[in-house]
Amino acid sequence: MDIILKIVSIGLITCLATLVIRPLRNDFAIFIGIAGGMIIIFLVINYFTGVLSSFKDIISYTGLNSNLYTLLLKIIGIGYLLEFTAGICNETGNNSLGDKVLLGGKLVIMVMAMPIITNILTIIMGLLPK
């Protein structure tokens, strides 16, 4: 319960600090927002490694190829990075830039996931009666 208190208080402090700074200097308010978001993510990023290692255990039980797991991990990481970057872009007022970042990331994810999709398709084609 300690960590949730930390997250909530950091969020509130960041909000109030941006509220105080925004009329004085608008650009600094954005920096405060970014820093607050970073601190919250760094607080919870250790939990993430725990979740990922338990995922790895589950994958090893199923006996799937571990390449699939690393690919999935990469795609999840790209998703988080994109979300974060697009959020910063939107916050600074560049909404269209954020959309382009998201679009580019989606395309990269699509390209990375293409081998899996073709794999599934070839399996299905093999199952079909000739």
Binding site: L24, F28, F42
Partner: protein, 64 residues
């Protein structure tokens, strides 16, 4: 990774705003601009360090 970086950025913002206002009042427009720019660069470096830390951590977690 502490909360104090938020307060640091807020304090630098307040300080540069006040210093810029004072310098502008005393008629030193160009020094005021430079003071504001210096504050902005300091904060920018702090935030960029944070972003770089985040990216390297994500890189190690998701083994890119």
């Amino acid at each position: 990774m502490d909360v104090e970086i938020i307060f640091k950025i807020a304090a630098i913002g307040l300080l540069t705003a006040v210093v810029g206002q004072i310098l502008k009042q005393t008629g030193k427009e160009e020094i005021s601009t430079f003071a504001t720019l210096a504050g902005l660069v300091i904060v920018l470096v702090m935030v960029l360090n944070l972003i770089g830390d985040l990216f390297s951590t994500l890189k190690t977690i998701f083994n890119f």
